[in-house]
């Protein structure tokens, strides 16, 4: 559905040339939810803007649904943009217009729909996002989550095949974020719309992405299926973003209550498991087959899209042999472990 080839983009500020995007190549398949994560300043916002040519790349092609956006006229680009929906971090609703008029805007811009068609389309969209009663209210009386729903309704009204999401949940609280992500997932599954989203929150990728690309310094440093990249990151920078962040985060929180003693026979391991393994009695099996005692310091059992996974920070107390045996057991059960201390 989307093919990005040899994309580069540089900015000139104060005499210096900064390469924001450095030779990026990407493929997004139809119906996929594709996430792009990275730290602030990594280039992800610019990359997304290149997808609908809001930013013109210096070199490279952006081929959306067979059309190379970098090679068409201004007028043709406008027509192509009407087939790409975009949602934004700060919603970008028009305060002077009602919710109805905000959602209707893309159709009015197309100019070839009559009053009846517009009313039917808007009503349908408002129903999809659950805001039918708000049609005649103004954005100033809506909450953040509701505003983003309006943004989604507006983005989808021209029945686009592609939806771009520019940190759409970054300005929302966790519960609202979850409900918006649910809505996006529902839209992707029932309408088959391809979604490309950028975010700096790993939770977002975990919840809805099929594939993810990690961007750093203008380059894609890792790319693949969401749970592969999240559970078993290959690049050190990716690990830094994901796993080490988790274990550092855990260790930080644990440090308040726990004293690390060197050579005390205690080892701290970070266990990760995916799929069915998540529900196996891992710790119980280890406890029974070795002589180790263990304490759970921190844990998380969750899902990456529909795939269950878990991460546990465990303190194992026992001798070296027992630890070796425990590791063997974990390996046999398909548990990925990492000795943190």
């Amino acid at each position: 559905m989307i093919k990005i080839e040899n994309l580069t983009k540089s900015y000139k500020t104060k005499g210096k040339i900064i390469k924001v995007i450095d030779n990026i190549n990407l493929d997004v398949k139809k119906g996929e939810v594709y996430g792009i994560i990275g730290r602030s300043g990594a280039g992800k916002s610019t990359l997304l803007k290149c997808l609908n040519l809001l930013e013109k790349p210096d070199t490279g092609s952006v081929i959306v649904d067979g059309v190379d956006l970098t090679k068409i006229s201004k007028r043709e680009l406008r027509l192509e943009r009407q087939q790409i929906g975009v949602i934004f971090q700060h919603f970008n609703l028009l305060n002077s217009k009602t919710i109805f008029e905000n959602v209707a805007l893309p159709l009015r811009l197309q100019g070839n729909h009559n009053r009846n068609e517009i009313t039917i389309a808007v009503d349908e969209m408002l129903k999809l996002v659950g805001l039918t009663e708000f049609a005649h209210k103004y954005p100033s009386s809506l909450s953040g989550g509701q505003k983003q729903r309006v943004g989604i309704a507006r983005a989808l009204i021209t029945k686009p095949k592609l939806l771009l999401s520019d940190e759409a949940t970054s300005a929302l609280d966790p519960q609202t974020t979850a409900s918006i992500l649910d809505l996006l997932l529902e839209i992707n599954e029932t309408l088959g719309i391809t979604i490309v989203l950028i975010t700096h929150e790993i939770e977002v990728v975990r919840k809805i992405c099929d594939k993810v690309a990690v961007i750093d310094g203008g380059e894609i440093i890792e790319e693949g299926k969401a749970f592969d990249v999240l559970m078993h990151p290959k690049q050190p920078l990716t690990r830094k973003l994901i796993i080490e962040e988790s274990s550092d985060k855990y260790l930080e929180q644990v440090r308040h209550f726990y004293k690390f003693e060197k050579n005390s026979g205690k080892h701290i391991l970070l266990l990760s498991f995916v799929g069915e393994t998540t529900y196996q009695p891992i710790l119980n099996t280890i406890a029974r087959q070795t002589d180790m005692n263990f304490s759970i310091l921190r844990g998380e059992l969750d899902r990456i899209k529909k795939m269950p996974f878990g991460q546990l920070l465990i303190e194992f107390n026992g001798d070296h042999n027992s630890l070796g045996k425990a590791c063997e057991i974990m390996q046999n059960m398909g548990v990925h472990y990492e000795i943190v201390h």
């Binding site: 809001l54 406008r78 943009r81 975009v86 934004f88 970008n92």
Partner: protein
């Protein structure tokens, strides 16, 4: 002063002249506000759009337009009145009277109003432009469907400010025999020492300004109810 003295004084005034002066002022004000607005809005839009990062970014157009606007704003109105005599005659057939004052009033006011329009446009969130372009809107569509509706409260407030500024400009119309309340105040009050006339005309102008401000605030409130 007791009420009797005030009513005596009021009775001795020539109200027909004051009435005519009031009508003249309103006549000048009405046309000046109207033309300043319809010229100022496109000029303000152009200034905004051709500026750096604007949709129609054009350094040459922006700098020249900005320069012209700045120059016109710097010329004292009384000098503008005189300098424009040939142009005014060409446009409306005379450089005298209420009619002859309107072109200079418009030329004096529209640059000021255009800057207010430009400022109002600058207050629109940049994200709105990203959204508009992402929807495939053309520049005209952005102006008509998005920019003008979004700045409407600000626009009405700016027109109010401009109208009130124009009230004091019309006072100088007397210099070209323009008539109006200001002219009356100067001729009778200043030149003939008839303080009572001057007082009455000033009070009338104060009332005029109050009414304009009230109407403006009311309209902004109505538009902003959203």
């Amino acid at each position: 002063m007791s009420l009797a003295i005030i009513s005596d004084a009021l009775n001795t005034l020539d109200w027909s002249e004051i009435n005519q002066a009031t009508l003249d002022t309103l006549f000048m004000l009405g046309f000046a506000v109207f033309f300043s607005t319809i010229i100022g809005i496109p000029v303000g839009l152009l200034l905004f759009l051709t500026n750096k990062d604007g949709v129609l970014q054009n350094k040459a157009v922006y700098s020249s337009l900005s320069f012209i606007v700045n120059v016109l704003r710097s010329i004292p109105f009384i000098i503008l009145l005189i300098v424009m005599i040939p142009t005014t005659t060409f446009l409306v057939g005379t450089s005298l009277g209420a009619k002859g004052t309107i072109p200079p009033l418009v030329v004096g006011a529209f640059p000021f109003f255009a800057r207010l329009v430009e400022n109002a446009l600058k207050e629109i969130d940049k994200g709105i432009f990203h959204m508009a372009e992402s929807c495939g809107a053309s520049t005209w569509q952005i102006i008509w469907h998005i920019l003008l509706p979004e700045i409407m409260p600000n626009l009405v407030a700016s027109i109010t400010v401009t109208a009130i500024a124009l009230v004091s400009y019309t006072a100088m119309a007397g210099a070209v025999g323009g008539g109006g309340l200001g002219d009356l105040a100067i001729r009778y009050g200043y030149q003939r020492f008839q303080t009572d006339v001057m007082l009455v005309t000033v009070v009338l102008m104060v009332i005029m300004v109050q009414v304009i401000q009230f109407l403006g605030d009311f309209l902004v409130k109505v538009i902003r109810k959203k």
